[in-house]
Symmetry: D2
Subunit: 327 residues, 4 copies
């Protein structure tokens, strides 16, 4: 979940409440405040608690809440878990340690210490683009030893990795939940056995991610894939040209919410770019018949290529890495 801010950059609680109810009304199965899309690192510890408080209060039990609870260290994290337990949260999601990138044994030690003391069920949060990775043996070890560890949210998007996790954990913990955070491949993830998704795109098009889920669960993969291709186009357009999660914020604004400027400063050049990029999002959303097209109309879209360029860039970068004495 995104967090609306007011003109002063403070949490806009009224808008946050309105957003919570809107998401529930459009079919989300749960709410997830203080995730990466919620920019948890850009709020203070006090603000993070306030966000969960408001979301839980507004949800009022209509859907369960998975609250991001990572703080500066284990003691602070457990303090947050205690607080969230009192707010009626269903479970917490704990991102793997970040900044320092830790070895598997240290990742295990961190989650084990939390799992021993938490008053709430814990979902591991594997987002290797931002934090130390949680590998399959570590997941298996935590699943085997700690009943409080009940699932994993994986934002890697790697289907083979997801299969390896399921093959390693399900025989010993059939109740363990596997959620994907990479909606670019949500339908194939559901096909191979994922339990669901916690997807940033649901901030903008909750009806559509829900539809992908329902069609996949019904085994209607042909129809599900038609929507999957469309979500992929939207996802690429929200993800690539913007600083995350600003593209998702820009799209959700077209659904009628004011999210404010965000706490990461932007140059005036960036603000100008954002306006142009947002109008592409408006056109894609208009095709979904969820918003009106821009008054100026929409040009025929060619496939967005920023993403593909990156692939070349990877190789060019590898040169660079290597030239600088890396390998």
């Amino acid at each position: 979940m995104l967090v609306p801010l007011d003109e002063q950059g403070q949490i806009n609680e009224a808008e946050l409440r309105r957003f919570v109810s809107w998401l529930i009304d459009r079919g989300v199965h749960g709410l997830y405040p203080n995730g990466s899309t919620g920019e948890f690192t850009r709020f203070t510890a006090e603000e993070r608690r306030r966000i969960v408080q408001v979301v839980a209060d507004q949800a009022g039990g209509r859907v369960p809440i998975l609250a991001g609870a990572a703080e500066a260290n284990v003691k602070e994290t457990l303090g947050a878990c205690e607080a969230y337990a009192k707010m009626g949260v269903r479970a917490v999601a704990i991102v793997s340690p970040f900044y320092y990138k830790l070895a598997a044994e240290s990742v295990y030690a961190y989650f084990a210490e939390i799992a021993r003391h938490t008053p709430l069920d814990v979902t591991l949060y594997n987002i290797p683009m931002f934090a130390s990775p949680i590998d399959v043996p570590t997941i298996r070890r935590l699943a085997a030893e700690f009943p409080r560890v009940i699932g994993i949210k994986d934002s890697s998007g790697d289907l083979a990795f997801m299969m390896r996790m399921m093959a390693a954990v399900r025989p010993i913990r059939p109740d363990f939940s596997f959620l994907t955070g990479w909606e670019a491949v949500l339908v194939p993830m559901l096909m191979i056995g994922c339990d669901g998704g916690t997807n940033a795109s649901s901030n903008a098009v909750p009806e559509v991610t829900r539809r992908l889920y329902d069609l996949s669960r019904a085994g209607k993969y042909d129809e599900a894939m038609k929507w999957q291709f469309r979500i992929l186009e939207l996802f690429d357009a929200m993800l690539n040209p913007f600083e995350f999660p600003d593209g998702f914020r820009a799209a959700a604004e077209f659904r009628g919410f004011r999210f404010g400027r965000g706490r990461q400063p932007q140059t005036s050049a960036q603000r100008t770019d954002r306006t142009a990029l947002a109008s592409v999002l408006q056109c894609i959303l208009a095709d979904f018949e969820l918003v009106d097209p821009p008054a100026a109309g929409c040009a025929p879209r060619v496939r967005e290529i920023g993403h593909d360029k990156v692939e070349q860039v990877v190789f060019e970068v590898m040169h660079e890495l290597e030239k600088r004495g890396v390998f």
Copy 2:
């Protein structure tokens, strides 16, 4: 296709012929000599031609042949294409330039020059782990301009990338073929719309990769996924602990072929390891009821974890990259 060698390290033509017929008998839809699994870089230009000659002769038109045709430069590559055309090959596969890693514009220039002059249809071969990547705009550009470019073999294993290619190319070239070289995710690749696979595992278990294809095409994804999980276990066991493609060679040897030592030298420690690792492969293949188990029996297998370790290692390596002044 792997290439059997004799005691002197020369191509074992008799064994190669026997292998060709065995593969065809077990249901492969085509043959692909001089690919990465065929270690094309470790043969001389003359040997590469001889390999295609033998394969084409032995196949005798029973299945089509896609011949790897990359040589030292465009002129030499076109010479190989001419030779393969005379041998009755259906198409060539050309890997993107390697050693030097090229920018997208140069990759385009390279394939365009070939496509202008080739007497045979060309399949692009994208194997970014070994060669310059071919990005989506380049694929689209080549597909739009050159009817001789008829498809792509992609060994990246990225489903979102595959979808992006299909979304970009199919509207302008509905005949264009999309093949995956990453059998770890063959079933989901077929589900999202891939036309087929050219998979190293088919050297060892052609019946099983064929079964994945048939079940997926019939829409029987639940059953297909059962086999997909088993292929994933085998694939990981052939790929990770060995130098590629030696694990595939070790598995195919259990099917009754002698491939010889390979041209990359091994230390005696490596040869000892290989024996132990191969017995694991034998156990997995025995579970498929394709070979007998080892006389010593098979221990219960825990999920192979080499692959997962890599994920941690990636992060540790990133430290290293970064520490050395890369970023």
Copy 3:
């Protein structure tokens, strides 16, 4: 600077004060609390302020203080700057945004917003292994526009990158300071024109890093390089087998300080390893004649190879990256 903790994991202020004076007595030119070695992310905002308060108070003006001031967002960071200004700190060091990894324009926007409002001089802190990189054009742009931005601490260790920064910035800001955080190459960095180093190794051997500086400044490179090779051995032994900064902590403990367990949990296996690894550090430090050797004596050392293994691993990982559909 490392931060000593007590048995309860709280800041051990008495030991911190003793450590500050010990470092000053051994010749450090300044103190740098709340850096990466100081594990700033594992303390709360209140604790970070307390650390700077204690260090500044104990230093009592004997050496200048560069205080790490990064907080959750720009507003909080500026609040820390205000507080540190009142404590008599000479300048702040601000690490580039982390977790989310930002484009250059966003890195610029972030530092520009801080530079406009800070009451203290700002040193940019480029540590690309942990945070968004600060590239040369961004450094030049910040140096050109903001007199408050007075230098950069670069922990990349890339000499060519350092030369590029100097070539880009010195013509327009001859006063700008270039500090290296990569003591593995401190002498060559000083030779090419760096102004100094802020080095984690100074927690363990402040006399030796100071000697490298003095010999280099005197142009005695032959003698400086003898010590550089020895610092490299120690550095590799503190960095590679431990989770950062635990190896530096283990070495500094041999100098007579109690740092406590650290806030990142460890498994019992890790604690056992630490004991063995620490005895290697003791042997290296004994060679410097700074501590006594272990009672059990020291085996002849072979060059530590963990670091070198990483180089192979990088390549193996690249396979993996590529195989998974990355390029």
Copy 4:
């Protein structure tokens, strides 16, 4: 060494001879045909032999020749070594295996097999941007076991890695040579103890790389660094905006040689770009007073920033890697 081609793309032997003598006249200590700058992979096995033949014949013993001898496999490589021995070559340089990227044990096995049978001294060639890396323990092992292995050319540019190699090998093989292929940091490499450089820039400015060597050997680091900064500017301008080694070719053309078009095809857009980029090279070379400036004059140069952009791109790419399920 670059290889001049004629209008038909064949080796221009007359121009090659003229180039050899020009390089010797300008002070190079040796010649190195069939290296990466010599695009050895784009020639046939026969052409590679012809190139060495012509170079050796033209040099006529005035300077020693280090001939690149890597072929498709060990047997073919040894055949090339035999041929080069007869041509009077001083030693061969063998690049680590490429395309397939090999583990350290396999890299060892490969070089050991060559070292056992070679009739010529062997220099290991570590160019991790293009080929499997050769790590420190492998270098030490080869140096310890095979007197025929007499040195390493390292193109990584990592000073700490160079120091680690020297620390590991010199105690057991004081005669072993350490050469750097990364002239961006040639002076600091010489300062820390490198024996010399084999540098692509010597194709364009052999007088200047020689001057860096002479000044460094004389301990005149201040003056050497002035030239080092200038070489860095030229190097970045030859390396970054071009496909390697085309920028080095473009610069060397200004010295009066015709190298032809190169064997990698270029689009017309690339050819246009090349003209513009080459005029920047001409301006830099004019500053060295080695060539005349362009008739149109030279604009004041701002530091070339392509290189720096890459650093940001690395981070952006890492997102991408990670997003695609890599870590």
